[in-house]
């Protein structure tokens, strides 16, 4: 019983081909077997997962099942959960127990999902490889010498290895899409404000957005249906009509379902620096999209090349302030011995935070400092607006923007940890969507010469999640990249 897409698992549960308890046991067994290698989970709670599963079976029997009832999921360990600790991959919060659930956690609970555990991640979501976790690096299910991407690497690896049916991640500069691409699964960053940030431990507040990981676009739609919605506890949460992201996917639109869809190809996403295998896989995917009826049009995003530097001013600035609350006074790690208040602060934060987090706090503190604010933070905000204008202009001539999610497939563990700038360049195609707040997703579209997955990124204007999901879904109807499973996952297939 190797769990397929959520749509299929949900149908099987409803048809009672297997029970949710059986499914959950199976996945817990798989986690027990593979997690020691992958290190995708920080916390697994079998007892409560099985309790959730029993409740789901009862709901299915009672006929009160919702689309996600009984679907085992995991949350990135940056989303607060009352049921289990919320570590953010940091020593600072290694034993932190939140008294409340994040809004998206609560919504998925109410949707009937089974919470199995919390997934590993780059410390406080700062990283592109899931190597900066206090709990050790996450490994890529396709090759355990490689990174799964980050920061939501545990959530991506768990879905890729079929340890779980779906998971949540957060995306501040690509932290859902990049690990989805590197792990060979689907991941969606919704429009900023679609999913509440309440209970999402803030990294960069103006960029953070929670979203789903799953095997297919159809699954992403189901998960987003449950996660999205207005939350008065988050002042940046959008109060707009409820949308059914799965509805359009069901329609039969014949052999050319994407007829009329204009796909913009920014020349900036197809230049040097993109690995040849990645470029070829993306070109092949574009050919497939054209075959499905879409047209492609060349577009320009003049300032998008500045997205990474802009991001690495704004995100650390906000992070330096957001992480000030971890001071050892009220909760979390506190140094065992100290001479006075300042010594307590210094030792606590020196011990509690890892190197990458400290680097970003330092950068953020610097760019907000008196005399530097205008040159860095303010300038970055101005360029951010220019980038947003570029995209607005581009959407006059296209509906969707396509390109590689990352310039290369996964890289080996350890090769980029010594060079932060090299690491940051992994976000080159993903950060713009965070700066503009617009939605973007990544879906698998091939493999490189090493057998590592390649992701295709689809971006759209604000609130076009349904269209992005539809394009991805039609692509997946015609291809089977999303059906490819890492060898490790097939080892126990029954």
């Amino acid at each position: 019983m190797l769990a397929g897409p959520i749509t299929e698992v949900a149908a099987a549960l409803r048809a009672k081909r297997y029970s949710c308890v059986e499914l959950t046991r199976e996945l817990l067994d798989r986690i027990a077997r593979f997690n020691p290698t992958l290190n995708a989970f920080v916390t697994v709670d079998a007892e409560r997962a099985l309790a959730d599963a029993r409740a789901a079976d009862a709901a299915i029997t009672a006929g009160s099942a919702q689309p996600l009832t009984g679907i085992p999921i995991a949350h990135k360990d940056i989303l607060a959960t009352a049921a289990m600790r919320t570590t953010c991959g940091s020593k600072m919060l290694a034993s932190y127990a939140s008294p409340f659930d994040a809004d998206v956690v609560d919504r998925l609970k109410r949707a009937g999902t089974v919470l199995v555990g919390k997934t590993n991640m780059d410390e406080f979501a700062m990283g592109s490889s899931s190597e900066t976790s206090f709990f050790g690096p996450v490994r890529n299910p396709w090759n355990d010498a490689y990174v799964p991407g980050g920061s939501s690497g545990g959530s991506a690896a768990a879905v890729a290895a079929r340890l779980i049916c779906g998971s949540t991640g957060t995306d501040t500069g690509g932290s859902i899409r990049q690990p989805a691409a590197l792990s060979g699964i689907c991941g969606l960053k919704p429009t900023y404000g679609i999913c509440s940030r309440y209970g999402l431990v803030a990294f960069a507040s103006s960029l953070d957005q929670a979203g789903p990981f799953a095997q297919t676009a159809g699954d992403l739609a189901l998960l987003l249906n449950a996660m999205a919605g207005h939350d008065p506890r988050d002042s940046t949460s959008l109060d707009r009509p409820v949308e059914d992201y799965a509805r359009a996917l069901a329609a039969d639109r014949g052999a050319r379902p994407l007829a009329g869809v204009r796909i913009g190809l920014p020349r900036e996403y197809f230049g040097k620096g993109v690995d040849a295998d990645v470029a070829a896989a993306v070109e092949a995917a574009l050919a497939e999209l054209r075959a499905l009826g879409a047209t492609t049009v060349d577009i320009a995003l003049a300032n998008v090349g500045l997205a990474v530097p802009v991001y690495y001013v704004i995100a650390p600035a906000e992070a330096s302030s957001n992480l000030s609350r971890f001071d050892g006074v009220r909760y979390g790690h506190r140094a065992a011995a100290y001479s006075d208040l300042n010594d307590m602060y210094q030792k606590t934060r020196a011990e509690g935070f890892g190197a990458e987090v400290k680097r970003r706090i330092l950068v953020g503190t610097y760019v907000l400092s008196h005399g530097y604010y205008d040159a860095y933070y303010l300038k970055a905000q101005q360029v951010r607006r220019l980038i947003a204008e570029d995209f607005k202009r581009a959407y006059r001539s296209c509906d969707v923007i396509a390109g590689p999610t990352t310039p290369t497939a996964a890289f080996a563990i350890g090769v980029k940890t010594g060079d932060p700038v090299e690491m940051y360049l992994n976000d080159i195609f993903t950060v713009a969507a965070n700066l503009t707040g617009a939605p973007a997703l990544s879906l698998p579209c091939g493999f490189d010469r090493n057998g590592l997955p390649i992701g295709l990124q689809l971006q759209g204007d604000a609130f076009t999640e349904a269209r992005l999901l539809d394009v991805a879904h039609r692509f997946q109807q015609a291809t089977d990249w999303h059906r490819r499973v890492p060898k490790l996952a097939t080892e126990v297939a029954r």
Binding site: Y198, S235, T236, S324, D327, V329
Partner: protein
Amino acid sequence: MSWEVVIGLETHAQLSTASKIFSGAPTAFGAAPNTQACAIDIALPGVLPVLNRGAVERAIRFGLAVGATINRRSVFARKNYFYPDLPKGYQISQYEIPIVQGGALTIATASGEKTVRLTRAHLEEDAGKSLHEELHGWTGIDLNRAGTPLLEIVSEPDMRGAAEAVAYARTLHALVKWIGICDGNMQEGSFRCDANVSVRPAGETRLGTRCEIKNLNSFRFLEQAIEFEVRRQIELIEDGGTVVQETRLFDPARRETRSMRTKEDAQDYRYFPDPDLPPLVVDAASIERVRRELPELPEAMKVRFERDYGLPAYDARVLTASREIAAYFETAAAELPGSAKLAANWIMGDLAAALHKANLDVVDCPVPAKELARLLKRIDDGTISGKIGKEVFDAMWEGGAAGRAEGAGKAGAIATAAVSADAIIAQRGLKQISDEGALERIVDDVLSANPSIVAEYRSGKERAFNSLVGKAMQATRGKANPAQLNAILKKKLAA
């Protein structure tokens, strides 16, 4: 050399909302430590601020009351610094664009009225409190106060001495209470001032180097602190020194200010717009709604009192010191057409003295305004003399206070008879004796009983007359109509 003192004040007024500025936790004072701090107030990971509209409405009310501009778009920023009672490691405050800009306040000074310009007023959250007592060398943190809504009101450096600064602070204090945005309780920290003080040679137009004295929570401390600071700065300069820009603390026990930190160790707060809060946008309609609901303001009311009741400016100002005093006066004056000045005199005199002595606020006055008016009517129509009026007033006060004590908890449970002037006058037989025949008989008795005093008077000792008046008053227990009594006595003595 003669020196000019220049003072500007920054005042923190705690806004009277039931819940905090960014959370739903209550703001009530005096609860056990950390029982009024929710997840948001203690900054647990993942929490977010949501702006309390009641705080915004109160800020707008203030802006309109001082004739300021209400910025239709204002921005919350983060002021970053580490302190144990600052849970997030930053304070949310308005920095570059405050909600209230400009405005002015009219104050009464020794040399007449003066306008103090306001720079701005902005919304922000209060921090918690560090507790050092009874913790055996440890520091405790109480976050009940964290997130309490504050309006920081910044004046221009328009005050020219401690007295003006105090007059400004008192006027501001009265205003925020008047418009119902702050309870004004200074002991509980609901209204506290920071004073920026500098001195310069008379005639100089450039400002001297200023020192900021933090957290002055009484008018007396404000006055003492400024007076000390001015002396300190002048002596320093006259001794050849220079003032260093710094933050100072006032020590009430020693009545002096002490350096807390200099500009050199001033922190870099790294202000930036709070990404958790969209810019605060206020539409014209809600500003207009607040404007419509604004009560008549003290300045306007003062002008009206002068005009409609013919009161002197001084009386009008005293009677508009608070909405409660003004309401008391207007209720009494309504019962006394044409005699508003009599009501003013009594309220500012006997009533104020009695309230002060009993340490009562006018809303808790045992003598209702209407009853006071009935008493004044009896003085006005000659039923009793002014002197007897005071005795009746005392009786009304006692009756009211006793009734209040009995009916504690039941508002308005004062027995009417106990505070009724007419009832007291009748009961105690205090009605003035104005009957000509009766008074003549009394005078005859006094004259025949005191032949030696009569003789003294007749020998030219004018003072003996007063002695005879006194005897007659004694005989009538003060009830004789004084004017009539004088006339009769004069007539009889002349006969």
